[in-house]
Symmetry: C2
Subunit: 506 residues, 2 copies
């Protein structure tokens, strides 16, 4: 068998083993409100009350109060941004591995993976007509450069892909710079203009594309993020502009003004470089092969310092294990903290980990990731079946003293790195938190410690520690039965180009 | 008499004439809630109901709906920022004078005044220790430059002037860069660190100073603004940094880290240059010498486009007159729109105007300025006595259909340019509006059209037009009786260095 064939065969194995999990989506959601756990299971969960209180109090009022914030601030102040492929990211990984060793976690190690290495050199843009002005720009990850002397071209503003494809518009695009002035309709919909905008514009002959920063709120704030060139299209330079400038360009076009821009965008795409997912464990006392995984990603974009995205998620994952260890709490199953590398360029660290650990996935009892903010914690968003949801709800009652008892069912998966897992095979949870403003700061210079609050981070660490510890320690295995399974996500485990990429390199 | 003596004599004249206005502050504020206007005055005010409704409807629902926003957008898109001393500001003034002429306003003209001309060339800063990072900076108006090669020095972070003056701190300042990490306690208190920070640091031998941007909220946003060197201190370069970076530097210092910075700040202070306050009128039908003045300032800082500060205020002032004119409404008294130049460097346009028009101030019936935002209008904040307040309240009842009927008494003056007038001699009003977020955007790149809303601007124009027109048209003169008069403000009219400056130059 060739490497890839063998790989797909390995991937298919759990499918056969786990085919029972594939079911149709049951529309009756009422059942999620009524739990019917056995009295023995309830009794067992309730027996953790004292332990849960000890964990919460130690973190929120005791020895570790303020600790997550303090440690994270020290970390981001020391390293700043941690862009995929940079030595600075590797230094920050060394630092975390050192911390985990200092906590006496078990099996502390980095797991190698190749990751993209794209960097921003010089970038600036000017509005030449109808008036002269600087136009702040922020290149999108993996963008190619303009020629050194830049590109001067007319701009054409569109509000949607549909508008771009209108006959009179699409025929006018050739040789121009396409400016996407899309409406914010939520991240999932809007981010398409960032990730696919250059490709769609290139297909029509555009020489570059600019995208309104993907955010619901702006203070003339630039937001970067990954973009992908579709196979076969001519790669064109692409960057974000502010919402304010996109709106201004729209007004100018609506007035009939000719808009002329000059773009000088210079980036370097280096060969993939070696990085590591950082791992530390508390090995299980009686079921060491079974794993409850807590995680966040350590890499960030190159603007801001990645305090929120995803310093907070990485640090509550590391710190909850460090505290459980210090409290002498060893669960039956292994608790594993993974600090993913290179989430930002496309879950690349995860993809490598998934490839290496695919044989082990059947032993993954529950996977957790926090990558949508560590604002005021409300509870857990979970991807699990009815019984699993009921267990989570029961556990979360312990979090009532810090108002974090909400269990919210996700119709999809949860997390970012763990999303394909939790959409298909493996039950999991992410931190439910008051993250209404998450995308205000996301991928922007405003992602700093100021976004975070020490008390909120304490509470988030407490939620993380209590939930992961109890699930890892229950005598009963967390149920894998699911209402639905996302076949596309399952296919992603096999066909993700990043998985192939990493696999081929290793 | 020398010029200055003569000037002060002229200044003193209204003091004698108006000495009845000087009274002690009456603590009983209950009376402000009870009005006792004569029935004839009430009847006269009520007779404006149809006119008020016509004005409001024409602006909010009719022909001029969206007009203020549309015209302001066209203006800021055309000119961008309008910094004191620049040709671009003068071009924008020409544009406004042209607009006023096109509206057939009376007596349209510019009134010359000399204004400061300070510009930003290059500026960048680096954190050298404890780690290497770029530190975004934004120089403060009138700052001197560093040497071309920059300044490298240790930084010392203080949270207040009191802390700066502690013995162990003040003795350590010499040769260092002082970083003000002041708490936001409202603009009036906090802005002291921007305006006086360099002087206070220089007195102790600092080589430069940085100030946390003066704002209650930041998205890593830089805010500039004017600063003043105290007479006799060595002028040192000074700039703002983000709240986030100020907090980071504080944490570094608190950890015991040595902080080393490099600053390259390059600015040019040119000689004062000629500018103009833009004036347009609807000359009064029977009392043309009496003036109701509406105003805002046309200049802005060089970041953002000054849409909010103070494009909105300038445009509701111009547009309300343009609409009254188009509606054929000529009041008994003269309605005068003044678009102040060079407010930002220290009310310089006003100071020149005040010097030229001091002889006329006794004829100023009521003065209005909007310079604290044109967000959702709520009514009028006024500086007037009990009877004046009651008249305003009665007029504002007409604004009930747009929920802008609140009359709020100001214990000080109102407005910025008109503040010394309204603290002392002349009754006046500013736009009361839902401006809780004003200082989020103030003096920053985020001051753009996106801050404003077309409906809000319509309503603001309607409030401005209704209030100014009725006060200008009432048969009874708006009462000048005041509860208090601010002697300091009155002195300012005589002693303001800008007044002297302008006076000496003219």
């Amino acid at each position: 068998m060739g490497k890839l064939t063998k790989f797909i065969a390995i991937l298919a194995l759990p499918l056969l083993v786990n085919c029972k999990y594939i079911g149709s989506y049951k529309k009756d959601s009422v059942k999620y409100d009524t739990c019917d756990l056995s009295q023995s299971l309830l009794n067992e969960i309730h027996s953790y009350e004292e332990t849960a209180n000890t964990i919460i109090n130690t973190i929120v009022n005791g020895k570790y109060k303020g600790g997550t914030y303090k440690e994270l601030a020290k970390f981001v102040d020391k390293f700043g941004a941690r862009l995929s492929g940079t030595q600075n990211l590797e230094n920050s990984i060394d630092y975390m591995l050192e911390l985990m060793r200092a906590n006496n976690l078990d099996n502390v190690h980095g797991e190698e993976v190749y990751i993209p290495h794209w960097i921003r050199n010089e970038e600036h843009a000017e509005l030449l007509e109808p008036r002269s002005a600087k136009l702040p720009v922020l290149g999108l990850g993996s963008s190619v450069s303009t020629p050194a002397e830049g590109i001067e071209a007319e701009a054409i503003v569109v509000t949607s892909f549909d508008q771009l494809k209108l006959e009179n518009v699409s025929q006018a695009v050739k040789g121009k710079i396409v400016v996407y002035n899309e409406e914010w309709t939520g991240y999932g919909g809007t981010v398409q203009y960032r990730s696919r905008g250059a490709s769609e514009a290139s297909k029509l002959g555009a020489v570059a594309s600019l995208v309104k920063s993907v955010t619901p709120f702006s203070m003339s704030t630039l937001h970067t993020g990954e973009q992908d060139y579709e196979d076969g299209v001519v790669p064109i330079p692409t960057a974000s502009i502010t919402k304010e400038d996109a709106n201004m360009l729209q007004r100018m076009q609506d007035r009939g003004d000719t808009i002329k821009l000059k773009l000088v965008l210079n980036y370097t795409q280096y060969p993939d470089s070696k990085s590591r997912n950082s791992v530390g464990e508390i090995i299980g006392s009686s079921l060491p092969e079974k794993v409850v995984l807590v995680s966040g990603h350590i890499d960030s974009w190159d603007v801001g310092v990645g305090a929120m995205d995803d310093g907070g998620g990485a640090f509550i994952s590391w710190y909850s294990l460090a505290i459980l260890k210090a409290l002498g709490l060893r669960a039956k199953r292994t608790l594993r903290a993974v600090l993913w590398t290179a989430e930002e360029p496309g879950l690349v660290g995860w993809a490598g980990y998934n490839a290496t650990h695919f044989h082990e996935l059947d032993n993954f009892t529950f996977v957790m990731e926090s990558d949508e903010g560590t604002f005021t914690p409300l509870g857990i968003e979970y991807a699990a079946g009815v019984k699993g949801g009921c267990i989570i709800k029961e556990i979360l009652k312990f979090l009532a003293p810090i108002n974090a008892s909400q269990a919210q069912y996700s119709t999809g998966g949860v997390g970012s790195d763990i999303s394909a897992w939790t959409q298909s095979l493996i039950p999991g949870g992410s931190l439910l938190n008051a993250n209404e403003k998450y995308f205000w700061f996301h991928h922007s210079p405003a992602d700093t410690m100021d976004v975070l609050d020490p008390d909120d981070l304490d509470k988030a660490t407490a939620v993380w520690a209590v939930v992961s510890y109890i699930i890892a320690d229950l005598s009963e295995e967390f149920p894998r039965e699911r209402d639905q399974i996302n076949i596309e996500a399952l296919n992603k485990l096999q066909t993700d180009p990043q998985v192939k990429l990493v696999h081929n390199k290793q």
